[in-house]
């Protein structure tokens, strides 16, 4: 297998054994990028020079006999809403087209300590608002399994880079499914940790009570490796959980015996592609074969999850995106004669349509006279949704659902916003309840990957990883390589 398609743990072993060097590996990945990036368009910014410089430093360390961490010298890609000093930070928006961040995100600080190699910044939906990566100001990314289809979103660039061999590991962010859904569309493993597991400091806020950073990688072991580096309390993020971080790789055991896995009936009916539902039922069956106990459960408030999310997330976003006003950084309209005009013109020209639509929707639901009917009501329903999950977890260790009700669909499908929003129903409630969720490859429909979502209890990443690992070791879906077929 080509180096660029191997996993972090395989490559770490090769680096340790000095079978390859980090420079060789990094060059191999850049060669692959040169080969396929025209078709995939996974990246917004690349930093070959910086990456090779770091790789050379790592090689010197290895040559000097120093011990290295699993991510040391292994090149990865970072979603372009995470602040990495030295690379421009765009959020796939015109408003930040030339923005140079002045600090590192907490996760980047942690990754730097591991001496990892940063390849570049990946494409995404503008400000993470979307589920196709088509709202990017710069470009649409293609799905490496079929270039005529979307890679999902909003972390579509990170997932497509993994599927296309353009990175060994990547980071995404997940507000309503933005890690898990593209992971499922691209046959990758993607995990959204428990809210608070990973510091949000330096991740450009979309919806502060929902956002969480996590890895998109090739297998469950790699997910555990990346989590080991990025998790942990951060003094710069008051919402980061002050709890010990276990060694997640220790959770990777092939054992689900005695585990109870719940199948929430609400995710297998109307709105879910029957073929997808079938794959998930087969996944459940596999878990049973492996020794788990599978039961049907109900999450009665699921039907309200999408609209609740599309009230809360835009409300928070309307405030979070207020700072992009042309005063301190970013794009500015230079013709306006007054500050208010400058701000309005800057924001109107700098933000794309989807972002403006969500800012305005969020402004509306918070505005005088509507707060109680929309925002506060949604926050109450959020409580009910959380309670649904709490109740389900009284009976179950994990829940199993489709990651997305559909497989990747064609680019430029021209769906109206509400129809697209409805497709987030499977992932959204997990963010609303702050729970950990992982998407793992579990089959194919017409050569397109299907993802199964496992949902865990708060801070239950270890159980999640163990179950995912057990399934992965018993199946071959994660080994399939995207053919870069079809045409854009």
């Amino acid at each position: 297998m080509a180096l660029y398609n191997e996993t972090v743990h395989e490559l770490h072993e090769k680096l340790t054994k000095k079978e390859i060097s980090s420079v060789e590996l990094t060059n191999a990945v850049y060669d692959r990028i040169d080969e396929v990036e025209d078709q995939v368009k996974a990246y917004i910014t690349l930093d070959k020079e910086g990456a090779l410089k770091k790789a050379a430093q790592v090689d010197a360390r290895i040559a000097a006999g120093e011990a290295i961490k699993p991510l040391t010298g292994v090149p990865g890609a970072i979603k372009d809403n995470i602040s990495l000093k030295g690379m421009r930070l765009t959020c796939a928006s015109k408003i930040l087209e030339n923005f140079q961040p002045i600090y590192d995100a907490h996760v980047i600080e942690n990754l730097r300590k591991d001496d990892t190699v940063f390849l570049g910044k990946t494409n995404m939906d503008e400000f993470a608002m979307g589920s196709t990566t088509e709202t990017s100001y710069f470009q649409s990314t293609s799905n490496p399994w079929d270039l005529s289809r979307v890679p999902g979103g909003s972390s579509g660039g990170s997932a497509a880079a993994i599927a296309a061999g353009e990175a060994i590991w990547s980071l995404g962010s997940d507000t309503g499914g933005s890690i898990r859904q593209p992971a499922s569309f691209n046959g990758c493993v993607g995990i959204k940790p428990t809210y608070g597991r990973v510091s949000r400091y330096g991740c450009i806020a979309f919806a502060s009570s929902l956002d969480q950073i996590g890895p998109i990688v090739r297998d469950v072991t790699d997910a555990a490796i990346v989590l080991n580096t990025i998790c942990g309390v951060d003094a710069h993020d008051s919402t980061s959980a002050n709890v010990p971080v276990p060694d997640f790789t220790k959770a990777l055991k092939q054992d689900v015996k005695g585990m109870t896995i719940g199948l929430p009936k609400e995710f297998f009916g109307k709105g879910t592609d029957p073929k997808v539902a079938e794959q998930i039922k087969l996944t459940a069956k596999k878990f049973e074969e492996l020794g788990a106990h599978v039961v049907e459960v109900s999450l009665p408030h699921t039907e309200y999850a999408v609209i609740t999310y599309y009230i809360i997330a835009p409300a928070e976003a309307s405030a979070n995106l207020g700072r992009f006003d042309g005063v301190r950084y970013g794009y500015r309209n230079m013709q306006a004669q007054s500050a208010p005009e400058m701000m309005a013109a800057t924001r109107t020209e700098g933000f794309g349509q989807e972002v403006r639509r969500r800012i305005m929707l969020g402004t509306y639901v918070l505005s005088s006279g509507y707060y109680d009917a929309y925002y506060n009501k949604a926050m109450q329903v959020r409580t009910l949704i959380r309670q649904d999950y709490q109740k389900a977890f009284e009976q179950c260790d994990l829940l199993l659902t489709p990651t997305s009700p559909v497989v990747a669909y064609p680019l430029d499908a021209k769906m109206d916003p509400l129809t697209i929003y409805m497709l987030d129903v499977t992932t959204i409630p997990v963010n609303m309840a702050g729970l950990p969720g992982i998407s793992i490859p579990c089959g194919f429909i017409d050569h397109m990957p299907v993802g199964a979502q496992l949902i865990g209890k708060p801070l239950g990443e270890e159980t999640l990883l163990r179950a995912a690992y057990t399934f992965e070791q018993a199946t071959d879906f994660h080994k399939a390589v995207a053919p870069l077929g079809g045409k854009k």
Partner: protein
């Protein structure tokens, strides 16, 4: 003509004396180059997050207790959304739904009458940055430059009930708040420097009316004088409108100190929809009884308690006691000076008289007063013992201003000791009586007026040092027996 009642409520912002900002570790130091005390958080850089300063909460809690508020066991922050170049995040982190303190009160005294002013709430929030305009004023400027050094400095906002009925009451309330802010050491209370700012809600209603009139909110009140003038102006403006049969519009107005007028700020009204919602980046604040008890035990003596104590223990009258305690450092000076003598009243008289006159004339505060409290107290004792006459005391005081030495020494150096030696005085009296037979005759004839002349003569002879009381008595005794 209809008589009107004025109704005033004040919203006071006080900058807390923390070392760092409310939500980041940048210094709150004043007067640095623009944008040098800044970081990703207070610059509103993408991805930065706030972290709460514990000292801010401690200060707000302390002040809430000082103003007799109910401290809330559960409080949290909200985002107040509006666009302005000095507001980096386009929202101010503030407490709207659940502030830290509710339902307090503070007592003021105006014209000898005591009045209780209700405190609706106290909440914490962050300050905005500063705009430096290219022209003289905002309206004559083509552009402005934003400095975020002040952005994120913690404030408390103290909202009063509409309990004040005159400009004098509003001023007394503000002075009382300043005094409490200084005593609790949460804010230095300097209105002119902006560390204490005030907005006034003003309305009027005809006497006997059951409901308040429509109020105007007046901003930009940067001094006690401005507060009083603005209220007086605004009351007259509203009276005129009502007399002409019009209606007062509920609006925000700004005080122009140079013109002595308030002006409507219509543009601010349009966007008056702050869309408050809970700040998801900060955890709530839970203050348990133990924390409250600890804060209570750490409260310093407050102005009203101190006033009572000075009246009871030091025998001051209420008026003087109120004046002494108003300023914390002034009161502390009094305490020290009074400790150096058994004549506390005498110290109070000197402090409210000559000492205050000196401070006013030189435009300095008690912190810069050249005489140490101990020496002032000792001087008061010398007067009380009769060692110094009050006239000579003024000389010593003047000398101490230049040279802060112990008054006993100065009296010696200047040769100013009062002569209370009966023999020495009798000798001078005898001399003066011998030299003024006509006056002696007048006195014998019952014309008492001449006694004053003779006393003056003796004092002159003693170069002011003779004890005037003894001189008086001895003259009478020598002539009348």
């Amino acid at each position: 003509m209809t008589e009107y009642i004025t109704v005033i409520g004040l919203e006071v912002h006080a900058e807390l004396k923390t070392k760092t900002k409310a939500f980041c570790s940048c210094s709150t130091e004043f007067g640095s180059e623009p944008n040098t005390h800044v970081c990703p958080v207070c610059l509103g850089m993408p991805g930065a997050l706030p972290v709460m300063n514990k000292q801010m909460v401690e200060f707000a809690l302390r002040f809430g207790l000082a103003l007799n508020c109910d401290i809330q066991h559960y409080s949290k922050f909200d985002r107040k959304n509006y666009y302005y170049p000095d507001l980096a995040k386009a929202y101010q982190i503030s407490q709207f739904y659940q502030p830290i303190a509710l339902n307090g009160h503070v007592d003021i005294t105006v014209d000898g009458k005591k009045k209780r002013i209700g405190i609706t709430r106290i909440h914490m929030e962050e300050d905005a940055g500063k705009l430096v305009h290219s022209g003289a004023t905002i309206s004559t400027s083509d552009s402005s430059a934003v400095d975020y050094n002040r952005a994120g400095v913690p404030l408390i906002e103290i909202v009063s009930e509409p309990d004040m009925r005159s400009a004098a009451e509003a001023r007394a309330y503000m002075e009382k708040l300043r005094s409490y802010l200084q005593y609790t050491e949460v804010c230095d209370g300097k209105m002119e420097e902006g560390s204490m700012r005030c907005d006034a809600n003003i309305s009027i209603m005809p006497e006997g009316a059951k409901e308040f009139g429509t109020r105007a909110e007046i901003k930009n009140l940067n001094s006690f004088k401005a507060l009083e003038r603005a209220i007086e102006y605004e009351v007259e403006r509203q009276k005129e409108i009502l007399e002409d049969g019009g209606h007062v519009v509920q609006e925000t107005r700004t005080w122009d100190d140079a013109q002595g007028m308030t002006f409507s700020m219509r543009s601010k009204e349009e966007a008056h929809d702050y869309r408050y919602f809970p700040e998801p980046d900060l955890a709530p604040i839970i203050i348990d009884d133990a924390w409250i008890e600890k804060a209570k035990s750490e409260l310093p003596e407050l102005p009203d308690a101190k006033k009572e104590r000075l009246m009871k223990e030091k025998g001051l009258d209420e008026y003087n006691a109120e004046l002494i305690v108003a300023d914390k450092k002034f009161a502390a000076y009094f305490d020290e000076a009074a400790a150096a003598t058994d004549d506390a009243k005498g110290v109070a008289n000197w402090m409210l008289g000559d000492v205050s006159a000196y401070l006013n004339a030189n435009n300095v505060t008690i912190a810069d007063f050249p005489i140490s409290p101990k020496h002032l107290g000792e001087m008061v004792t010398l007067v009380k013992k009769g060692v110094l006459s009050s006239k000579l005391a003024k000389k010593v005081f003047a000398e101490m201003l230049k040279n802060d030495k112990a008054p006993v020494e100065l009296v010696k150096e200047l040769g100013l000791e009062q002569v209370s030696d009966a023999g020495a005085i009798q000798a001078m009296v005898d001399e003066v009586l011998a030299a003024n037979p006509q006056s002696v005759a007048d006195i014998k004839a019952g014309k008492d007026k001449a006694i004053g002349f003779l006393v003056g003569q003796v004092m002159k002879k003693s170069r002011g040092k003779a004890n005037p009381g003894m001189v008086n008595q001895m003259i009478k005794k020598s002539i009348l027996g």
